[in-house]
Structure formats: C-alpha cells, structure tokens
Symmetry: none
Subunit: 197 residues, 4 copies
DNA sequence: TATGAATGAGGGTTCATTCAT
DNA sequence: CATGAATGAACCCTCATTCAT
C-alpha cells in the first residue's frame, strides 16, 4: 500500500530472501517484518504464525512445480522431449527467480513429511513419466524408484550446485553467463541415456 | 565414565540423532544434554559451543568420506570398478549408521561455506575420478562439473530417498529388506552409462 | 502506562536503587524487571542491554552535574562564592535524591574510561574554576591537578561518608538531622582555605 | 612450588591484578586459576570461596594500612610531621605496589560494611590524630568527622587520580616520573593548612 | 595438595506471539 | 489492517563449587 506493493507480497518476498540467506529457524519474525517494512504485529494479520508463513511459501511453489510438470509432460510425445520440456521449465524458473527455487529446494526436508503423496509433487511427476515410458517400452524395465531417484537427483544436484555458485563462489560458474536453462538439453539427454542402460 | 561409555561419545551420539530428527537449530543444548545423560554445563567441557559441536560432527565425517573415497578410487583399475567401490562404501556406511550419514548429508548446506575446497571433499573425489577417466579416454569429453553433478546428485538422491524412507514411510521400501548397499552396483553402472552419452 | 507511571521511568528508578544497594554486576535484569514491575523482555524495548542501562544512568547524570556546575560557577564573583554555590548544588542534589548521586559516585570508576574528557565532567568544572582563580591571583600559584584533587577529594569524601551513613550506621550522623547541605558552607570555606597555603 | 613461588602467593598476585583490572564480580575463579597456573579445584584448597579470597585480600591490607598508620603517628611530635609521615607511607606503598593499593581503595565500598570500627582502620587512624591535635590545641576546634573526611578525601583522591593515570592516560602525569611519594609533603602541608581555618 | 570433569542454578538476551490503541 | 510495547518461556552459555581420582 505504502508503495503500491501489497503488504502480503512484500512479506513473502522478504521472508523468501531471508529464509534462503539464513535458514528458516535462523530468521526471526522481527527480521522479516523489518525487511518487509511492516510492523511485527501486522505480520499476524497475514499469517497466523511463522511456521504457517514458511509452510505456505513452500507448499504453494512446491505444488506449483508439481502441477506444472504434470501439465507439461503429456504435451510432449516421447521421453526425450518430455524430459527436455520438464527440465527446461525447472531451470527457467531458477533463472527467473533463484531465491524462490532455492527455498523450495532447501526447505524440502523440513516439510516433505507434510506433503500428501498425490498432489503436485515434482518427484512423482517424474516418477509417472518414467513409469509410463517403461510401460510403453521406450526404456528397459528397471526399478522405477531407483530410476526416478537418479534422474531427479541429477536435476536437483544441478540446482544445488547452482545455489552454491550463487551463494559462495563455487565451480560451475558457466551459468553465470548463460543461466541454468542453457544446460537443460544436455541434462535431459543424459537422463534419458542413463535410463537406456 | 558414569556407565563405561565416554561422555564425549554419548554427547556425539545424542547430538547426531537429535540433529537429524529435528534439525540443528531446532535442537537445544538442554535436549542434547538430557539425551546424553550429561548436565548442560558439562557439554561445554567438551565443546565450546553448540555450533562447534555441530561443525565438528559435520566436518569430521565429511572429510572422512572424502578421504576414504580418495583412497578407494586408485585401488581400482577403471571407472566402473571405481564407481562400484566408491558407491558401495557410501551405501555400506549408510546401512551401518544411517543417522551419521544423514547428518552429513542434511547439514551440508549449512556448512559447505566453511569447507576448504580441496581436502577430504566427497564431491571433489568424484570430480577427480571423472576428470581422470575423461583424460584417459574412458568416457567422452564433456563438462566435468555437469557430469559430476549428475553422478553425485544421483547418489545423494538415493540416500535422500532412503532417509525419507527411514523417517516417514516413503517409497523405495526395498532396502528395508536388503539395505542400500544392494543398490550400489546398479547405481554405479547407471552412472557410468550416463557418462557414456 | 499500567499505573500512570511511564515504564522507562520505573525501570530507571528500580535499576538505580538496586545498583546502589548491590552493585551493577550483582544486580540481574530479572531483579530490575521485577522491581520495576515489568517483564524481562520489556526491558529490552527500552535498553538494548544491561550495560546500556547502567551507562545511560551514569552518563546522563554525570554530565548533568558537570554541566550544572559549569553553569553555576560564572554566576558568582569570586572563589569562595563559586565554591559555596557549587558545593551547595551537589549537596542539595544528594539530599534530594541520594540514591542517584550515590550511583554516579560509586559507578564512576567503572565508566570513567568512556567519558570524554571535556564535556560535562564535574572534576573538570572544579579544575577550571581553580585554574581561573589562580590566573586572577585569587590564590597562589600551585599544581592545578593536585589542588583540584584535594578539593574534589574532600567533597567526594563527604558524600562517601554520607553514603556509608545511609547504608550502614556510620559516623557523621549529624546530617541525619540537617542534611548534607548544611555542611556546604564550612566545606567550601575549608577548600578555599586549603588553597591559600 | 612448580617454580619456587608458593601456590597461595601466586593466587593472591593473580587475583589482585585481575580484581583491579576487571573488578571482583567480573573476574571468575577460572580466570584467576588460569592466571595463577593452578587448577580450578586447587583454588579451594587455599580459599573456601571466591568471596573469602576477595575479603582476605582486602582486610589483610586494609588493616595493615590502619595498623601501620597507628604505629607511625605517635612516633612524630606534631600534626605536620605526623601527616607527612603517614601520607608518605601511603604514597610509598602505592609507588611500590599500586595494584595492591588500588584494590584496597577500589574494593572498599564493597567491604566496608564488614569492617569492625576499631581495628586497623586507616580512616580512624587519621580521625584519632586529628582529634588529638584538636585536644592539644594544635588546630582550632571543629567537627572532627568533617575534618577527617576532608583530609582523608584529599589523600584518597590523589590515589584515585593516580589510579586513573595508571589505567587510562589521565592528567597528573607528573608522578609518572617521580612517583606519588614526591607529593606527600605538599599534600600533608595542604591538609594541615586546611585544618587551620 | 592437585586435578579437571561434572553439576545445575542463574546470567543476559531473543523469540514468537498478544493486545490495547 | 497497522502499530509497537508487553509478555514470559526458552535459548545459549558461564559460574562457583564439588568430588572422584
């Protein structure tokens, strides 16, 4: 209101940044309020607790990823194109707002216990795509969980490394220039290849 | 001493378990002391602060992994056997003491900024093995960082999934029976295959 | 607010009393809060730390004394009247609120290292008056520091003895009846006389 | 023992220094033990508590001063020579071991409540000398308490200023070269003069 | 006597949260 | 909806002191 930006939006933005910079537990309501230029008390007009705020931020975007990935997959004919599109989406999202993606990524262990299996879960989106490819004979039969772990793990690790590169000054400086999205095709292809074993 | 177990050992054990169960920030010194059957004050005869305790637990085992992996690699002739031996080591360690491995895995983002790049760093152990295989022509030339990310990511994700299986009642229930170690060969092979692309 | 008295005022009052009764280090924030009928947490809405509270209490009144003494001196024509007015001010202040004066007096060693030399410093107020009297030939030339020490020392010791009389049941019971102020003239005259040597 | 210095002596020395440097409350048994190169536990073979140590250090030297001053006074014929000898003793002691004297001086408010009136109390040594001089008609009749306060105050303030000069870098730098003792005669004379009023 | 690990009360401070305005 | 003082539980840590060796 003060500056045309909605209060709740400012809170989200500030919380996201601080959570990623310092960790959820290490960030106090005071800090968020201050960063969002809101009074401490006003925070509670928007979120009933710090936990609710952290969870809302996580679950919203976690599902968003899951849902979008589920939407993207059927729009592509085969495993290679599905993977490319799915991974490009994730990487583009990272390039556009790495703080948001980092949060979802880093906070996942804290919240995964609360996620219902079915709903927009990115992991299961990949799981389904792989299982279906196996059913269609696109890739050899193998343990789906292991296969999914390897694929998702590879993708996550790319993001992981990218986060480190953002936060410290780690290797993989390449996407400083190009963005992570530039890597989506080779990564997707590597994943497909991996499942051909 | 009280019961034949050294105090410091009891503290480590208790801290490790609580850190994994609840997170480092979410675990208080009081809780650790209680779980270790030590007074709060006694904690500080062994560690100068909670942070030092968390860091000691992390860095010790993190380097241990890195060092051991560096030791294992040269004892094997080619990439497939290297990978198998390295991954078997990690998975066996997980089966033997999943709490310890989970801690190192889960806390890594908190501490990675403090780790010196080269020393016993598991990531760089894989990095070196892959780079060397590339030099020797065992696998095609490609971006080493991307390659390492995919491989390490796959392995980590296996552990990640295994942790979730331990903590909640998630998929990949298979190694409930066999242990993660049973998967080391297929995972190693998939990793090799992936790099052949 | 709770009872019409401002919180910060209640904190100051309580802290002053406890600091004098027990010493700064020996007084806990908990005690002050309780005496001021405020929660522990609320203390920190008014002072960022216990040290800041102690320092604020000291420096405020220390400068106040210095400033007032500097104001009083020029309003009087010669050394005897200057001394009488200055000492009367100090003694009156003691009679009116001996706890406050005692605090400034007792805590001075703890804080003197932080005081800037010139500003409202009671010692230098006397220093200036004596130096000026020497310049004007009112008193013989002598070491100004020694002279000031003797004068200020005499005054302080009166207060010191008075504090002991308040706290224990020591000699100099006289001003139990009359107040310290009754002694300001004889003390001032003795000081003048002392400088005539 | 370890180095030929008796343990208890090392403890006293270390405690004295730390008490003056930091204050009694601000100095921990741990610190003293460390500075004295003694184990924490061993401290309690020599003193039953930190308070006993602080008190012992204070009362021993406080009485020592009082006793010595009482011994010095009668050895001199009149007030001027008495004052000179007494003040010289105090100032010499300061020059020889300013830490010790500072401790007695600074800690006096903390302990004065425990001192029995009669025994070796420096204040009362001066009190007696002045009262006697008054009886003998050496100085005019006046309030003995006030007179004593002014005299003792002047002396104490000299020491006070000297302590500040040692600890920070305050005025009265003169006795950096000569020692406080060089001032004993002028101070004594000023005191006599002051009582002549 | 000397040692230093162990104790647990208590220290200063921060926190999420409430509520009168 | 917004404010920010107030709350009091909880946090990390330090302390004087004890005691088995």
């Amino acid at each position: 209101m003060r500056d045309g930006t909605k209060t709740k939006e400012r809170i989200k933005k500030a919380a996201l940044r601080l959570f990623v910079e310092q960790g959820v537990a290490e960030t106090s309501i005071r800090e968020i309020a201050k960063a969002a230029k809101v009074s401490q008390g006003a925070m509670y007009n928007h979120y009933t607790s710090k936990d609710e705020l952290a969870w809302d931020l996580f679950s919203t975007h976690f599902s968003e990823f899951g849902l979008e990935l589920r939407r993207i997959a059927p729009a592509n004919p085969d495993l290679p194109t599905k993977f490319r599109a799915m991974i490009r989406y994730v990487f583009e999202r990272f390039d556009a707002d790495w703080v948001l993606v980092s949060y979802v990524f880093l906070a996942r262990h804290q919240f995964l216990g609360r996620i219902t299996r079915r709903q927009g879960n990115p992991y299961s989106a990949f799981h389904n795509v792989i299982a279906e490819a196996m059913r269609r004979g696109e890739i050899p039969r193998q343990d789906v969980e292991v296969a999914t772990s390897l694929v998702v793990g590879g993708i996550i690790q790319m993001i992981d490394t990218a986060i480190l590169a953002k936060r410290y000054d780690y290797p993989l400086r390449r996407f400083r220039k190009q963005g992570l999205e530039a890597l989506s095709e080779p990564v997707a292809d590597a994943c497909v290849h991996l499942l051909m074993a």
